[in-house]
């Protein structure tokens, strides 16, 4: 910005880094420099300065590295062919190391919970739940292009299916997962059918209303849902083994007694983590496949041009409905894990419009339609606020700012969707 084309490269790098550092200072000052204390606040100028300095050093190092040919090659590798961005799709050569990386990530994800404290275990579970939610909404908004502002409704339905189901019908954790999925999908279908004739803004408003209705019903139907007092779900179990100190359900044995180990409150969370991790992996696998399957492609086509789709023999109602239901189903599954993670206790305050907005932020920031982008955004947006505790008060502000800048700089998200590349016979 301040640099002229004929400045020496070092000076350019320095100016650029200073600018970035200054922006960081501006952003971090209100977040971590001011800490609320009752009705007043304390200032901590050293924290934001330090953070800004770290950003400055990082940027400067990056700039210096960019000056060396070695660094340039490295950057090229990660920044992916800037010259033809957005026009051509990535070549399959990029996928060479993919399987190795995925395998490493998978194993890392599996062993991770054994090294986490209980607090970070709950954070990690929550992050994975948001991955699920993000993936679900990604189908609806990212692929099918149906702006759904009431996604939290399906999340709530999933959580309450588990909680109320175990209260009234003795539903267990495992049976709650498919049941909540089916129930949320059904509800998605019922909502979707009349609503899907609408487009854009109208659809957004109706879904927004739907999300609020579900929350209000949960809040006010005291006799059935327990209202603001919430509802209690069963303890998760594995083949009749519970993870509590003493078994809560008849016929169940505590896990630690069965294996003759000492009781640890972490075991339950490790268990939930592993289940939700595996489910999330399954979903990621499924959803990344989906895009090259006729159904996923049909969703995308419908988003692009409804008339063209219909004249190509697609039934737009069933296709939209399938996207809506598939998204709702994923949200419902997320809800079950949420109920389990909350110690089996859910109440309506967890399902406000803010949750819908957060999930939407995950989808938009991650890159509409992009599975990897959504996963990364979900992890970042849930873990980051926990890492920087002071951040929490400013979460909404940061979302706002991030969204605005995102739309300016990378309107298609951090990791925009990539088109599949065809390399059958007759190579281009």
């Amino acid at each position: 910005m301040f640099s002229k084309p004929n400045d020496p490269p070092m000076l350019t790098a320095f100016k650029d880094s200073s600018l970035v550092g200054m922006i960081a200072l501006l952003i971090f000052s209100p977040i971590s420099g001011i800490i609320l204390n009752g009705y007043g606040f304390n200032t901590h100028p050293q924290t934001p300065i330090m953070l800004a300095f770290i950003v400055f050093i990082g940027r400067f190092a990056y700039q210096l590295a960019a000056l060396t040919p070695w660094g340039q090659r490295l950057i090229q590798k990660f920044m992916l062919s800037k010259g033809k961005r957005g026009v051509y799709v990535a070549s399959p050569g990029d996928q060479r190391y993919l399987w190795i990386i995925l395998a490493i990530l998978f194993i890392a994800g599996l062993v991770l919970p054994f090294y986490l404290s209980k607090y970070y275990l709950t954070v990690a579970i929550l992050a994975l739940i948001y991955v699920l939610l993000g993936l679900g909404l990604n189908i609806v908004v990212g692929l099918a292009g149906l702006l759904d502002l009431g996604f939290v409704a399906f999340y709530a339905v999933g959580a309450y299916t588990f909680a109320l189901g175990s209260q009234y019908w003795g539903l267990g954790f495992w049976s709650a997962i498919p049941l909540a999925a089916a129930f949320a999908a059904l509800l998605g279908g019922i909502l979707g059918f009349p609503v899907l004739r609408m487009h854009g803004d109208y659809l957004a408003i109706v879904t927004l209303g739907f999300g609020e209705i579900i929350r209000l019903v949960l809040n006010n139907w005291m006799s059935f849902t327990g209202g603001p007092n919430g509802a209690k779900a069963a303890e998760p179990s594995l083949f009749g083994l519970e993870f509590t100190r003493t078994a809560k359900t008849d016929g169940h044995i505590p896990f630690h007694e069965f294996f003759g180990t000492t009781y640890s409150p972490n075991t339950k969370f490790i268990f939930i983590y592993l289940v939700v991790f595996l489910v999330a992996c399954l979903m990621i696998f499924f959803f990344s496949r989906l895009r090259t399957m006729p159904m996923g492609r049909a969703w995308e086509a419908l988003r692009e041009d409804e008339i063209a789709c219909r004249s190509l023999g697609m039934n737009h109602v069933t296709i939209k409905l399938s996207a809506f239901m598939m998204g709702a189903m994923t949200g419902g599954i997320g809800g079950v894990f949420f109920a389990a993670q909350q110690g089996g206790f859910v109440n309506p305050t967890s399902f406000t419009f803010f949750e819908s907005a957060l999930i939407l932020a995950i989808v938009v920031l991650g890159g509409m339609g992009s599975v990897v982008g959504v996963v990364v955004a979900a992890l970042v947006l849930t873990i980051l606020p926990e890492m920087l505790r002071d951040f929490a008060d400013y979460r909404v502000l940061i979302f706002g700012i991030l969204m605005v800048f995102m739309m300016l700089w990378k309107p298609r998200g951090f990791l925009p969707i990539r088109r599949p590349y065809f390399t059958k016979e007759g190579q281009a």
Partner: protein
């Protein structure tokens, strides 16, 4: 029992209070190239879209291969062997050229996909060069080729085109109309809606002239080309 492949019989169609078609009758026989010409807002696109049921004909009937299709759902029309190249192309801009072609196979499944895709690449070499490019970044002419290619991927017996020459350079228009001639020669029946009367009538076996939602004239391509009314209204009077 008629021998027409497509028979439109005395249909009316309207958008709310606006009546766009009045008592329109026309037909297309198998193997023909039939064109419909008319000024802006004459109702050409409306007529083409009533075949797909949007808007629906409020009177009269539309038959395809003897079957009444006046009231069937839009997505079912596409499965009967009728494909359309809609006005404004309506390709899928975020998808690649190749994906767009794949989408075209939806009505018949992907059994012939490889073979037909190669055929399209032979007919439109430009598309082959750009097969992995996002369709939205193609030029207007290339997008039109893609729209035609996509429609042909469903191996239609009847191909409907709505102003394929719209906004294209004369050279590209010529190229596109030439490929239509090839497509017809390979046995596809063509119903072409055009404003570009000169080109369309030269290509077509027969033509209809639509004025304010009514069929004003009909005849063979040559007849219409020399008709004084047509010359005055659509051919700049030369």
């Amino acid at each position: 029992m008629s021998d027409y492949m497509l028979e439109i019989h005395q249909i009316d169609a309207s958008y709310g209070p606006i009546q766009a078609l009045r008592n329109v009758s026309m037909n297309v026989s198998e193997g023909e190239i039939v064109t419909l010409i008319g000024a802006n807002g004459a109702g050409k696109s409306t007529l083409l879209m009533t075949i797909f049921g949007s808007p629906r004909a409020s009177k009269g009937y539309i038959k395809y291969q003897g079957r009444d299709i006046t009231n069937i759902a839009m997505h079912e029309v596409g499965r009967l062997g009728i494909a359309q190249v809609p006005e404004g192309r309506r390709i899928f801009p975020a998808m690649t050229v190749e994906e767009n072609l794949i989408m075209g196979t939806l009505p018949i499944g992907d059994e012939h996909m490889e073979e037909d895709r190669e055929k399209m690449f032979v007919m439109f070499p430009r598309l082959k060069e750009r097969r992995n490019q996002r369709a939205g970044t193609l030029s207007g002419g290339e997008q039109q080729m893609l729209a035609i290619g996509r429609a042909l991927m469903s191996r239609p017996k009847l191909l409907l085109l709505d102003e394929p020459s719209l906004g294209l350079a004369p050279l590209i228009v010529k190229q596109i109309l030439n490929s239509l001639r090839d497509i017809a020669a390979q046995g596809t029946t063509i119903f072409l809606v055009e404003q570009n009367a000169n080109h369309a009538l030269r290509l077509a076996d027969r033509g209809y002239v639509l004025v304010n939602g009514e069929i004003r004239l009909s005849g063979t391509g040559e007849e219409l080309l020399v008709n004084p009314e047509v010359r005055a209204a659509y051919l700049g009077g030369h």
